[in-house]
Every structure is written in C-alpha cells, then in structure tokens.
Symmetry: C2
Subunit: 144 residues, 2 copies
DNA sequence: GCAAAATACTTGACAACTCAAACATATGTC
DNA sequence: GACATATGTTTGAGTTGTCAAGTATTTTGC
C-alpha cells in the first residue's frame, strides 16, 4: 500500500489549487496578460525606484531567469516594459514600466483583485486561517 | 499607486511556492517521473478498485482532461499504467496501474515523501498551520 | 424513440515554461 | 594585473501543459 505523508499531501493540494487558480486568472485577466505577466508588471511597479533586475524577478516569482527573459520579451515588444542599463554593473539590464505598462497594470490589477477575492474571500482568510479550514476553503471554492 | 489585496497577494505567494516545489520535486523524483506523473500514479493507486476515469484524475489534480491524456501517454508507453474499458459506459477508458507501475510508484513516493518533509517539516505543519504561515514557511525553507 | 444536449476523451496548434550551455561582465586571490 | 570563479542574462532544444475543436457515446425531454 503506497502512502503519502502529510507534507506531500499538502504539496499535492497546493499544486491542484495553483493549477486551477492560474488557469482562472489567465483567462479572466484579459488585457492580453497571463497571470505571470501581471505578477511581473506588479513587481516592477513595486520595486524601489521603479526598476528591478531580472534575477530578482526570478527570485520573487519562483521562476528561472530564463523564464523571465522569455516572459518579458512580448511585454517589451508591446511596449509595456522597457530596459535600462545599470551604471554600476554592465551585466544587468533593469526592467522598468512604461506609461502604457502602468496603465495596463492598473486595469489588470483591478480585475485580478476581484477574481482573487472571489476565489479566496478576505474575511475567511482572516478568521478561519487554520490549515484544514484553508484547504477546505480552497477545495470548496475551487471545485469546478 | 497600484495595490493588491491580501487574497491576490496570497495567490502570488502560492504561485511562487508551487513553482519552486514542482521544480524541486521534478528534478529529484528521478525514476523518470515528473511531479505530476507521480501524483497521477498515486491517485490511480488510491482509487477504489485500482481504476479511475481520466476526468476524475483531471478533477483531482486541477489539470484539464487534455493534459491528463498527454501526461498518461508516455506512462502507457513505458508500461506503468494500462487502459481498461468500462462495461457500463463506452466513452470512458479507465486507468490502472501495472505491476511495474506499482513498483515505480512505491520507490518514487519514498523519495518524494523525503523531499516534501525537507520542504515542509511535519511538526511545523501542525503548530503553525495557517496558510499564510505555511507559505511564509515555504518561502523561508525555499529561499534559494 | 428521436433530436438536442451533455459527457468522456483525443487531437492540432501553440504558449509557457524548463534545463544546459553560452556569453559578458565583475569580483576575489595571489 | 592576471586568472579562476561567481554573477546576470540570453539562447537552442525540448517538455508540459493549454485552448478550441473534433469524435464517440450517453442522457434528457418531449
């Protein structure tokens, strides 16, 4: 009989939740952005000075540096982000938001916030934040 | 100033955690299995009668039916799972484990359990079991 | 009992990543 | 100040999914 410890079980549940959430946010976010695109724009917007290294984006998102390069490519092409050199270190190329990028980010965040609240109501998050509660909650809200 | 509510923030953290976890389990699981392959084998093994519909696998994993078809394809080819018809309904083709599948599953679960405990120690899971707490914990254990 | 709708699965075309290796620059050591 | 090593980014090739549309079968409602 193949069994699984509670940690692995939890990782499986997280995996399921994330798959469903990402899919839902991908399709709803509109504005031509996927969930990760939105996260990237958001992180750039939040970064001190409005600029951030690609490797820091990789760290904050959990993706690889390679993935970041590939995700940013279309965002550069459509003019939502731009490159800026770093005076101190010629290896890095900083990512910044363009005016268009800020505008799209704002709109997309509005939508995404609503979807997130739908998936995971804020008040439940606060009061019932025990593990069984949360899993049930994710499971319940998410069930197809 | 673009802001994000706590629910969306949590989903972003969850996304990060999942990306890192899946990557880690993918590379360590060995036996030629990715994380999702392992989950599929496990779910088949746990299913009553040792057989399960593809659509139920999709539901339990959070993936699409299409994704399940594509993930199972190599597992069928290497002989870890097999097909069984359903007498009552000719549309469904049930998934079962082969003897080889059971053996590989058992070995892979052993590895995956260890990795999961490394990422998310069981005793911490009990005491500090709020989802934000868990994600913080994952973030801490995970930080590169 | 038959057309319309729903369900289970697969397929073609493509997107969103990964890994490994390359390249460019920076930093430490002696 | 040269050489080994570390860091930041990109690229080639492949994998792992998605979506939309198709096929096959079952269920529903009249």
């Amino acid at each position: 009989m193949s069994t699984v410890n509670s940690s692995l079980q939890l990782l499986m549940n997280l995996s399921r939740a994330q798959a469903i959430i990402a899919r839902r946010l991908d399709s709803l976010s509109a504005h031509g952005l996927g969930f990760n695109d939105l996260v990237l724009l958001y992180l750039v917007g939040q970064a001190p000075g409005g600029k951030i290294k690609r490797i820091d984006l990789a760290d904050k998102t959990g993706l690889t540096a390679s993935g970041i390069t590939r995700l940013l490519l279309p965002l550069e092409k459509t003019g939502l982000v731009a490159r800026k050199a770093n005076a101190r270190d010629a290896r890095v190329s900083l990512v910044t938001l363009t005016a268009a990028g800020r505008r799209v980010l704002k709109e997309a965040l509005h939508t995404a916030n609503a979807v997130a609240l739908d998936l995971l109501p804020k008040e439940q998050l606060k009061t019932n934040a025990s593990l069984p509660g949360i899993l049930k909650l994710l499971g319940a809200n998410i069930t197809v």
